[in-house]
């Protein structure tokens, strides 16, 4: 690497930082200058009213437009970017899913028909279902179990950090870590993958783990569980610590057993946190892409919706079919959106 390679990149970085300073600084400056103008105008109006030249404005008339003006400028960058980057693209993707691969002809629901009749795609949907069922279930269970086990234990902070650490690792990095665990060498050689070595120690024969379906999908799911369990653990652990002591005390005086305590006190008390964790992990799992792409590239029957969407839209240039897959993904998420919004509203009112 020499400086000639990186200097254009650093130049771009400087441009980016200057743009940031200009946009954000400029906006705040504008917001300081414009109101001064409005304040002067209002002063003039008040003077006119005082002199009896103009009718008095109705109460609140002056205040509201000013507030609205501020709101527009404070929200402007977010609204514009969301319109360009999300709202309009979502609508266009909906339309594209009704068009042919090159986006020139309307084909009605053909792309959706293709999705549910093509046996490859049905396999993809089946795999995705497996992911969405197993990952939230296992990751949340492990997280909950661990949160309960290490609560108030010695070394609690260290123990939690160990489980939590994979959250900082990219899916690509995690995939490489686990590919190394699953690595295979012929029977006559020394194994370099931990899993095969354990099999050998136990007297079995080493195996190419990532070739056999559906076992390979399960092994990919392990990677996602490995990453998400820490997230579940942190949130649930905080929820457990927040359970009021007097409830526990009352239950204890009633002489409940540990099992009863867990099922009747702990679980109901952390229910909101549990829902949040399951929803968040489910949504993340639906969109899983990096792990499958890095581990097997979707070969050997491990493909999932998000990777197939990427392949259709960006490798085969079949934007119609790719968009249909994206829309399908979106439709799967909608019930969760509705559920979350209702939750939010209840909490705001409650």
């Amino acid at each position: 690497m020499d400086f000639a390679d990186i200097s254009p990149k650093l130049t771009m970085l400087v441009y980016g930082l200057v743009a940031f300073a200009v946009v954000v600084g400029g906006l705040l400056l504008l917001l300081d200058v414009v109101p001064t103008y409005f304040a002067r105008r209002r002063e003039r109006q008040l003077l006119a009213v005082a002199a009896g030249d103009a009718p008095a404005p109705p109460a609140g008339y002056v205040r509201k437009p000013r507030e609205f003006g501020y709101a527009i400028f404070f929200l402007l960058p977010v609204i514009v970017l969301l319109l360009i980057g999300l709202v309009v693209p979502v609508i266009r993707t909906l339309l594209l899913s009704l068009k042919s691969g090159d986006g020139t002809e309307w084909v009605g629901l053909d792309n959706y028909g293709w999705m549910f009749s093509n046996s490859d795609i049905l396999g993809v949907l089946w795999n995705s279902l497996l992911w969405v069922v197993l990952v939230p279930l296992v990751a949340t269970s492990v997280g909950l179990l661990y949160a309960v086990m290490v609560d108030r234990a010695r070394f609690e902070a260290v123990a939690k950090s160990l489980i939590f650490l994979p959250m900082a690792i990219s899916f690509v990095g995690a995939s490489i870590i686990w590919r190394f665990v699953y690595a295979y060498r012929g029977e006559e050689q020394d194994q370099i993958g931990l899993l095969n070595q354990i099999v050998v120690w136990l007297g079995g024969t080493p195996k190419q783990w990532l070739l056999d379906s559906p076992l390979n999908t399960l092994l990919l799911i392990v990677v996602m569980v490995w990453i998400q369990a820490g997230f579940a653990m942190v949130i649930l652990s905080a929820a457990i610590k927040a359970i009021p002591g007097d409830i526990v005390e009352a239950a204890r005086l009633d002489g409940v057993t540990a099992w009863q305590m867990f099922w009747r006190i702990t679980l109901p008390s952390i229910r909101p946190a549990l829902i949040v964790v399951i929803v968040a992990i489910t949504v993340a799992t639906m969109k899983i892409f990096d792990i499958v792409r890095t581990m097997t590239n979707g070969n050997y029957d491990t493909n999932v919706i998000a990777l197939e969407m990427y392949n259709q839209a960006f490798r085969y240039q079949e934007t119609g079919q790719g968009s249909a897959l994206a829309v399908f993904l979106f439709i799967l998420v909608i019930p969760i959106v509705v559920f979350q919004i209702r939750n939010l509203r209840q909490q705001r009112e409650g």
Binding site: P35, A71, I177, R293, A306
Partner: protein
Amino acid sequence: MATTTPVLPGVTAEPLPKTVAGRVRKRLNTRMATVISILIAVLWTVPTFGLFISSLRPEQAIKTTGWWTFFSDPKLTLENYNEVLFGQSASSGQLANYFVNSLVITIPSVLFPVAFAAMAAYALSWIQFRGREWVYIGIFALQIVPLQMALVPLLSFFSRGVSLGGITLMPAWQLEDEQKFIQVWFAHTCFALPFAVFLLHNFVSQLPGELMEAARVDGASHPKIFRTIVLPLITPALASLTIFQFLWVWNDLLVALIFAGGGDETAPLTVRLAELAGTRGNEWQRLTSGAFVSIVIPLIVFLSLQRYFVRGLLTGSVKG
């Protein structure tokens, strides 16, 4: 034994743990609980540890023996790192280049959404205007739109511009080589905003109303309140969001694949690593050290700022 909890005589002589979990743990066989938690901790740590040890072993050793033999036959080398970062041949990683790309992508992709979201969160909390609730709900709902829904049209927005009924409203951006950073920043910023606004709104809306009211009475304008009162008070929240967004952008593969392309001018570490894993899946001396090059920065950030990260997670998810 001293205990603060009232103990009925004859029930138990032990001090009782005060939390539910503590009691569950106590009643389940304590030794069993310890064994399970140690087992989980080991299971969660060993894969990373094995990769790390391997990245420091000579190529020949990695390829022929398991990393656990390191303890009986320790040989250490930094050659893998040197090769994967600075090696000149096309087959070596040349990761130093991609490391710079990751940095150039990440810094603006973090700054823009954090600043914009802070302003929006303030407006949605403390400026009275009609339809405020609906704007917020709208942004909140966008949070769960899968990225996949936006990728194809957003890419064509850059590469073909916008035209409506044959009239060109915006020409294609025609970004080349290093200029492609712009579209990566743009995409990351757009995709980050719904969550960023949501997270900051949780903090900003809970600031004491009397504070704003007092400032208003003193004649402070909204920008002044935003800069001098709100921003200093939400610094921890900004820190949380910054860490989130940093980890998200640094670790992202999908957005980078589509908007940065695969060339060494713009592609970040994740793209290069995925490529190495695909084409040179058995070159473990490069994959192990390469993986660690990509992991080390987020790991440092994460470990040193874990407090803020956890706080952000809790506010971001439990309250909404």
